[in-house]
Amino acid sequence: MPIDPTFALTGPEWRVDGLAGADASVEPDATSTTGSGFGDLLGKSLQSLTDSQIDASAAARSLATGEATDPAAVVMAVERAQLAMQLASQIRTKAVEAAQDIFHTQV
């Protein structure tokens, strides 16, 4: 299942929209297949990615308005956002490769 982060480029704040079918309304139950459990996990990861981006934006804005009292906090927030995005990007790449491997399997 490919990850598709779509960016609302012209919106007020850009964000990573969730996975189709992996939103919070999916109830994990004891008899659920591994599919929806994985989806739930992915949804949570995306949520934390979005949160890290939002935190970084808030920190950047506090820097612009001069309210930032701790430069280290701003730097850490932006760094975390950068790493989260790189991680998501790597996961996407790996997932795409895995899907391609499956499709190329000789039956």
Binding site: P5, F7, L9, T10, G11, P12, E13, W14, Q53, A56, S57, A59, A60, R61, L63, A64, T65, G66, E67, P71, V74, V75, V78, E79, A81, Q82, M85, Q86, A88, S89, R92, T93
Partner: protein, 121 residues
Amino acid sequence: MLFDTTQLALERAIGGAGKRHEALAANIANANTPGYQRLEVDFHSALASAISRGDESKLALERLSFNPAKDAAAGATRADGSTVDIDSESAKLATNALEQQAAVQVAHARINILKSAMGVG
């Protein structure tokens, strides 16, 4: 990334810091001019008020222009009526340069975030 409010705010902060540098440099150049009134650019509060407009922030940020203005709150530091204290101007200049550097680095990092999201570099 280049379209979002935070990135626009950072860009304007970098520009505002540049304008403030001009004002502070003018103050330092006039350190010994009798009766000179110091100039200041308060870009932080201009940005804060533009950002606080909610939905209209982007428009407010785009329209923002930073103008050096006489600092009415400054008191005379010398008998000839000049309001420039060269040490305080130098300190403000250094602070301003660091703020500009911080804004540039954060803007750069956010651009890199977008690049890694796009799968570039």
